[in-house]
């Protein structure tokens, strides 16, 4: 054991590669998490855009319609529910993978590698849910406000501001997904290998 530097390696790229493998091959669980995020984000997006459509309508057509403030409270609740749901799903996912976590530690994984693996999965899920949710949110906003403002209202919104909302809400989705996954991922990473290996589901 002399001379050679005693290091183990697991880069973000390795974690990404492995994370994608998990997501592709355990698609159902991933789909539930993604759907949860997408639902929350589509709710948020549709509300923000409806607000924007109304404001644009007011500006061009001289109306005075708006979104009720309480609806934003509903969105906040939806986001929290989504976070709790993802935490729950991720905890189940950690239990399912107890043995695999133990095995990974046997072949050289450090605590932080396990943490990174789970967090990268949650980032991918958050980003996917964010983008899907945004698309649904845009459609929902157009459908719900189009009858009042006219369906061509979308054309009056600058593309750059839509892009801004896409990035903003996707970022929020990723953050929520990370927040939801921190505790499960931390628990997974702290598992002693012996305990993880002897766990019977």
């Amino acid at each position: 054991m002399s001379g050679e530097k005693r290091m183990v390696y697991f880069t973000v790229r390795d974690a990404y590669r492995l994370g994608i493998g998990y997501i592709r091959r355990r698609f159902q669980r991933t789909a539930i998490n993604v759907a949860s995020i997408a639902l929350a984000n589509s709710f948020l997006t549709s509300l923000i855009l409806t607000d924007l459509f109304y404001a644009t309508y007011n500006k061009f057509q001289g109306g005075s319609i708006g979104v009720d403030a309480y609806q934003y409270w509903l969105v906040a609740v939806a986001l929290i529910v989504s976070v709790v749901g993802i935490t729950n799903a991720m905890l189940i996912s950690v239990y399912e993978r107890y043995r695999e976590i133990g095995t990974m530690k046997c072949i050289g994984a450090l605590d932080q590698h396990i943490l990174m693996l789970f967090l990268i999965e949650s980032i991918i899920q958050g980003a996917a849910g964010g983008v899907i949710g945004f698309i649904f949110g845009v459609v929902a906003a157009i459908v719900s406000s189009g009858f009042t403002t006219g369906f061509d209202i979308i054309l009056k919104i600058p593309a750059i501001s839509l892009l801004g909302y896409l990035l903003g809400t996707t970022f929020l989705s990723v953050m929520l997904s990370i927040i939801a996954s921190i505790y499960p991922a931390w628990r997974a990473s702290k598992l002693p290998p012996v305990e993880a290996l002897s766990y019977e589901l």
């Binding site: 054991m1 005693r6 290091m7 183990v8 390696y9 697991f10 390795d14 492995l18 493998g21 998990y22 592709r24 091959r25 355990r26 043995r99 695999e100 133990g102 095995t103 990974m104 530690k105 046997c106 072949i107 050289g108 994984a109 450090l110 605590d111 590698h113 002693p192 290998p193 012996v194 290996l197």
Partner: protein, 230 residues
């Protein structure tokens, strides 16, 4: 301290506390295992076989005493060094194979090379070679659920060899296999031991495995009852 000794156990003690009771899983075990030796650890369940396996493998910490691997006291190692030891020095084989279910045979075998810092393509190439050497050259893209028990254990053996470890630790490697498959796996392990000079330490009930070994360590109640030449 002889350099031919690869594993040294000194007054190894491991207690577990269960409520108010203290269970002596291992009680003062001394043992030297030489390089290239094939040692079977035998005993009834609860005799301390698995505890010994976990301690030698750096998966658990002793209550007292020391485990030396290549002259290094592994209780003195930090998390990085311990991970390095598990990654590079020791290959683990389990009764229930413990393959990563979402990965293919090839990816499973290549995974330890990732932690060793081997470039991706090189690791895959090596994994392919190892799978061919355990007789699974044609099934490298199958996932564990698509392989038989014997084939899964072959994948696990190939994975254990991925970083050219000095020591192979096997915990009941034939415990989940039928007779014929068990014999094949024993032959494979025995061959690796003899041809590659790998040190093989196997906890087992299997008489055929015991017969193939150089030395047999009989455990009872956390202590070594007797040591026999094979």
């Amino acid at each position: 301290m002889s350099y031919d000794t690869v594993i040294e156990l000194r007054k190894l003690v491991r207690y577990y506390t269960m409520g108010d009771e203290t269970v002596k899983a291992l009680d003062s075990v001394d043992l030297d295992i030489g390089r290239g030796e094939y040692v079977s650890i035998v005993g009834p369940s609860g005799s301390g076989k698995t505890t010994l396996f976990n301690l030698i493998g750096g998966l658990d910490k002793p209550t007292e005493g020391n485990v030396f691997i290549d002259g290094v006291d592994i209780s003195q190692l930090d998390a990085y060094e311990l991970a390095w030891l598990r990654c590079r020095k020791i290959g683990y084989i389990f009764q229930s194979f413990n393959l990563i279910q979402v990965l293919t045979a090839l990816e499973n075998v290549a995974l330890p090379t990732v932690f060793a810092g081997t470039p991706h393509d090189e690791g895959l190439k090596k994994a392919e070679k190892l799978l061919a050497s355990v007789g699974l050259g044609k099934r490298i893209h199958h996932r564990p659920s698509e392989l038989s028990a014997g084939q899964q254990q072959r994948v696990a053996i190939a994975r254990a060899l991925a970083n050219d470890p000095a020591i192979i630790l096997a915990d009941e490697p034939t415990g989940n296999l039928d007779l014929q498959t068990g014999i094949e796996i024993i032959d494979l392990l025995h061959g690796l031991n003899k041809m590659k000079g790998l040190t093989l330490v196997a906890a087992t009930h299997d008489l055929k495995m015991i017969k193939a070994s150089d030395r047999i360590v009989w455990m009872r109640d956390g202590q070594i009852e007797k040591i026999e030449r094979g």
